[in-house]
Amino acid sequence: MSSTSNPLLEAKGITKYFGTITALENVNLKVHAGECLGVVGDNGAGKSTLMKVLSGLYKPSAGSLFFQGKEKILESPRDSQNLGLEMVYQDLALAGNLPIGENIFLGREPTKNLGFIKLLDFNKIKELTNAHLDKLKINVKSADQKVEELSGGQRQAVAIARSTAFNAKVVIMDEPTAALAIKEVGKVLDLINSLKKTGVGVIVISHRMDDIFTVCDRVMALFQGTNFAEASLSNTSRDEVIGWIMGKK
């Protein structure tokens, strides 16, 4: 949590054009191990674009990304996943017809060899899922339960569990509480706190001041595609942050 140590992930001078539109201009961002950075901004401020640059979905027009001090070029979401950069999408990106375990390991399923053919190792999926859910203190009836049978909060928990199942070092969450009932919000925020304790760097994009002020250590505001303001949580207030979102200092 000390800002003197090297950041896990650092973005320097990120600029992104879409044709003649400037979505981001010279944006800087950094997050340390075990730290939670809140990113706020009005609609169209460039939050989503910035996150998509960090997850490898967009290539920046200019600027560079540093991961653990080394410059990295991300060509696709696979590249960022391989580095340990995981994204929790706002629409959760879960397949409702599949069980929890198969969602967590989707695309990266463990297999066992049977002669020359590779078959899915369902026992291992279940074992790893239970161990991982236990570690994050996520309660579900069974790893075999289909995701469509879960509540919104449980689904969000599964999405977060998936993002951390492969030794994630940085987890980026887009509006993690937007679709949740009030009592479920607390559970998800607890989950973010327990992620921080395991040394994961977390970036949370949120409109909800309550979320930002419960889990974040630092908050930065984007305004019209540029860095507008940044402060550690202890040095700011809700009213000030809300002012930043609207472009007032």
């Binding site: 696709s76 979401p77 696979r78 996943q81 994204m87 999408y89 629409d91 959760l92 990106a93 879960l94 397949a95 409702g96 017809n97 599949l98 198969e102 969602n103 989707l106 695309g107 990266r108 399923e109 297999t111 053919i117 590779k118 078959l119 899915l120 009836k141 339960q145 469509e148 049978e149 879960l150 509540s151």
Partner: protein, 337 residues
């Protein structure tokens, strides 16, 4: 009170998956029982049972292919035309005097390439829905089949070419009579269905096919190459239609212009009756098999009782509507909204 609710809820949770998996088999068994009671001497005789399997042999291949496509929330309207085109290519190649091992490969390759064409069209041309691409190829493939054959039937294949559709496995060594043989097509159905059951349930690609049907965005975000999987699915569907053509060649000893006409609708009907959901991501290989069997037994049984084929159409249509209504109810119970 709450405890009781919980018990009922957990009983539901436990029972629903079984009902989803095996409910359709219950319907199948019920139908067999009813038919047996109505036609006690004939229906379960060796001759009639093997007859049913011979009749459903090529439809079962089409239905399995269409099923995989439906699992991805797609549709393939062209399977009947793929089968007809593959059959015509087989007939032309056979008439040209090619050796049998080349002749039997041609419909498989032709079917695969037709399916590949569908898959590439859907993904590369970014068709808004597979319905449109395969509606187009429904006409294209049948037209092509008539172009290469001149629109006339081509008959007369060698025994090797006809083996899969027409061959018999003698069971006299088991002490059975000569008339009590096993059709090769029945063994083929079993082998193909087992292979595809393993593929869909136990392989990564199979799991991804279900994931794409459940939520294509989730599949994409998980690093799955959705377009590649879709191309594989449509190609395999075409390949199965090619196997269907080979079976049909054996059964009818002829390539004819009306082969497989409207059989895409039978294939879709079998999937739907068997519990595959049009929304994608739901359905089992066992269910498709049951769906094919239900349609086959219905036709066979009604024929035995001399019921008009018009009534068969009415009944099959009614079963489709009923089966989908059950699907709707199941979704209401099984999922949260």
């Amino acid at each position: 009170m709450e405890d009781k609710d919980k018990k009922i809820e957990s009983l539901h949770l436990k029972l629903i998956p079984y009902f989803e998996k095996y409910g359709i088999l219950l319907l199948l068994v019920l139908m067999i029982l009813v038919m047996h009671i109505l036609q006690p001497d004939v229906f379960l005789s060796w001759r009639n049972v093997t007859n049913v399997f011979k009749q459903i042999s090529w439809q079962s291949m089409l239905a399995l292919g269409v099923f995989m496509v439906i699992v991805t929330a797609g549709i393939d309207l062209s399977v009947g035309s793929i089968m007809m085109l593959s059959l015509m290519i087989l007939a032309v190649v056979a008439k040209a005097g090619a050796p049998w091992f080349i002749v039997v490969l041609t419909p498989l390759i032709a079917g695969f390439l037709c399916g590949l064409f569908n898959g590439l069209g859907i993904t590369l041309l970014r068709m808004p829905h597979p319905f449109i691409m395969t509606l187009g190829t429904l006409y294209i493939f049948r037209g092509a089949g008539n172009l290469i054959s001149g629109g006339t039937p081509i008959s007369g294949f060698t025994d090797e070419v006809r083996y899969l559709g027409h061959g018999r496995i003698d069971l006299q060594w088991l002490g059975l009579e000569k008339s009590q043989y096993l059709p090769v097509s029945l063994v083929l159905i079993a082998i193909v269905y087992i292979i595809f059951w393993i593929f869909l349930n136990k392989s990564k690609t199979g799991k991804w096919i279900y994931a794409i049907g459940g939520n294509p965005n989730a599949a994409r975000a998980s690093g799955i190459n959705v377009n590649k999987i879709l191309i594989i699915v449509y190609s395999l569907c075409g390949f199965l239609s090619g196997i269907g053509a080979l079976i049909l060649a054996g059964r009818t000893d002829s390539g004819y212009p009306n082969a497989g006409l409207q059989s895409e609708l039978d294939a879709i009907a079998a999937c739907i009756i068997g519990g595959a959901s049009f929304f994608g991501g739901r359905g089992t290989v066992l269910g498709v098999f049951a769906g094919v069997m239900i349609m086959g037994i219905l036709r066979n049984g009604l024929n035995l009782m001399d019921v008009s084929s018009f009534w068969q159409q009415v009944l099959i249509g009614s079963i489709i509507v009923l089966a989908v209504y059950i699907d709707v109810l199941r979704r209401d119970i099984g999922t949260r909204k």
